[in-house]
């Protein structure tokens, strides 16, 4: 259990914003979160970001936020953990409050990707692989990693590409009701199944897009309505060839186990979930690793509609990374934005009487994972 509460949330629309700088996106989301929190005094800032340096030539993001918002000469830092940068930034803020050093911390996450070419972005994303390895040299990529996992999953179960399409369709249908989501055009199973192949069996709709956007949270030790019951983080193998079981993501499993243990709840108690669906296949594995469904049976739950907003275990009511969008450093923070809305009862695809919520944020090919469990008091 932590003594940390979420007091304010902010988020920009996700999409393509070539005319806005990374700083502008950060500031926009941060101001919204500060206003939502009633403009408290802020003791520190942690910013989640992955490729601001490599494709944006912009670092010092923590100091930029403090300066632009006039927060004073407070300590700030940028946190990098690939696609888990946002979740880890939040965790650093929580640790700062738990240590007694800070009372109130501003967490922000941001990425700007749409100005760069696909080849340049893919290249920059590959920095989250182990570059000094035969695996990277073989030409494995992130979508490639999850393509390998999907083919093995199909081999070991009765799941097919259509089950992955059901995940992609569900997340798109959720995004249609989320005004901040990147993709708001309806689609069909047929369109998803027939889309261009990226890394077999994964097609275009199975892969999260490149996105510009930012999200922010104000967390504090002052008791409020949204309690962070637990925060956990784990590492996992940085190479596919080192995985004990290719159909397992140990970082997800372990961070989930720790988060449940610290919160004193189990997967059966969770009312609403935001999972790191960088690929449809990732959502399939994560719903199993987090204990919502048995190993190698997630596809059955998907087929039965149990993870839809109307199901008994709603996953990614925001649209997820696949359709809300995936501005890498912002993703882990945006997950909390959606869950706080769920607990306040004002979310797109609102789950009735939601009281316990879980967010899971993944980085690399299973290299990092954070899990946060929230409770409405």
């Amino acid at each position: 259990m932590t003594n940390v509460y979420i007091e304010g949330i902010g988020m920009t629309k996700f999409g393509k914003f070539v005319d806005k700088s990374m700083k502008q996106l950060l500031v926009e989301a941060s101001i919204e979160a500060l206003e939502d929190a009633g403009n408290p005094k802020v003791d520190a800032v942690f910013v989640g970001n992955f490729m601001g340096g490599s494709i944006g030539n912009q670092e010092i993001l923590g100091a930029l936020v403090a300066n632009e918002l006039g927060l004073g000469y407070i300590p700030t830092a940028k946190v990098e953990g690939a696609c888990a940068s946002g979740g880890i930034a939040l965790r650093q803020g929580i640790m700062g409050i738990l240590s007694g050093e800070y009372d109130t911390v501003l967490i922000a996450g941001v990425e700007k990707m749409k100005h760069a070419s696909t080849a340049d972005v893919t290249q920059a994303i590959n920095a989250a692989m182990d570059n000094d390895s035969n695996e990277k040299q073989a030409g494995l990529t992130f979508p490639g990693f999850f393509g390998v996992l999907a083919n093995r999953y199909f081999y070991e179960t009765d799941a097919t590409k259509e089950h992955l399409a059901m995940i992609a369709l569900k997340n798109r249908e959720n995004a249609l009701h989320n005004p901040l989501a990147q993709f708001q055009k309806p689609t069909t199973i047929a369109e998803i199944m027939e889309a261009r192949i990226i890394t077999s069996p994964l097609g275009l709709f199975d892969c999260s897009p490149t996105t510009d956007g930012a999200a922010a949270l104000v967390i504090t030790r002052k008791k409020g309505a949204i309690h962070i019951r637990s925060s956990a983080q784990s590492s996992g193998p940085t190479q596919m060839q080192d995985a004990d079981d290719v159909l397992s993501l140990p970082a997800v499993r372990e961070s989930g186990r720790l988060a449940y243990e610290r919160a004193g709840v189990g997967p059966e108690d969770i009312d609403v979930v935001e999972i790191h669906d960088c690929f449809s296949m990732t959502e399939m594995l994560a719903i199993e690793e987090l204990g919502f469904f048995n190993k190698r049976e997630g596809w059955l739950a998907v087929e039965q509609g149990r993870t839809k907003a109307t199901g008994d275990k709603p996953v990614n009511t925001s649209g997820g990374l696949l359709s809300r969008g995936h501005p890498i450093g912002a993703t882990g923070v945006a997950q909390l934005y959606q869950l706080v809305q769920q607990l306040r009862g004002i979310a797109p695809n609102q789950v009735e009487h939601a009281r316990l919520a879980l967010a899971q944020n993944l980085g690399g090919t299973g290299s990092y994972s954070t899990v946060h469990i929230l409770e409405r008091l």
């Binding site: 030409g139 494995l140 060839q241």
Partner: protein, 101 residues
């Protein structure tokens, strides 16, 4: 092919580590084993980062070695299916290039 085998438990990897990540106490010992193995899974990559774009489409497979618990990630020259038997053809820019037997 070189693999690193834990002297305390079953763990093996194609890359060396300071200590065994599985049991936490063992030391990894270098071993020479046959490159022969079975395709555990694979993907055909159609969209790749700039440095591999000229190779597309290409296949990356995870090979379960016959003589070790270790698996190895390799590029294959030609399509493969799960269960195919394959062996090392050559090493190219640090990548293992496998072919079907």
């Amino acid at each position: 092919m070189k693999v690193y085998q834990c002297d305390q438990c079953e763990y093996a990897s194609v890359s060396n580590k300071y200590r065994c990540p599985s049991c936490g106490t063992g030391k990894l010992q270098e071993q020479d084993v046959s490159s022969r193995g079975t395709v555990y899974s694979y993907t055909d990559i159609h969209i790749a980062p700039a440095e591999f774009a000229h190779l597309t489409p290409y296949t990356v497979a995870l090979i379960q070695l016959d003589e070790s618990k270790a698996k190895v990630t390799a590029r294959t020259n030609g399509n493969v299916e799960i269960g195919d038997v394959a062996e090392l053809d050559h090493i190219e820019d640090g990548a293992y290039i496998y072919r079907k037997c």
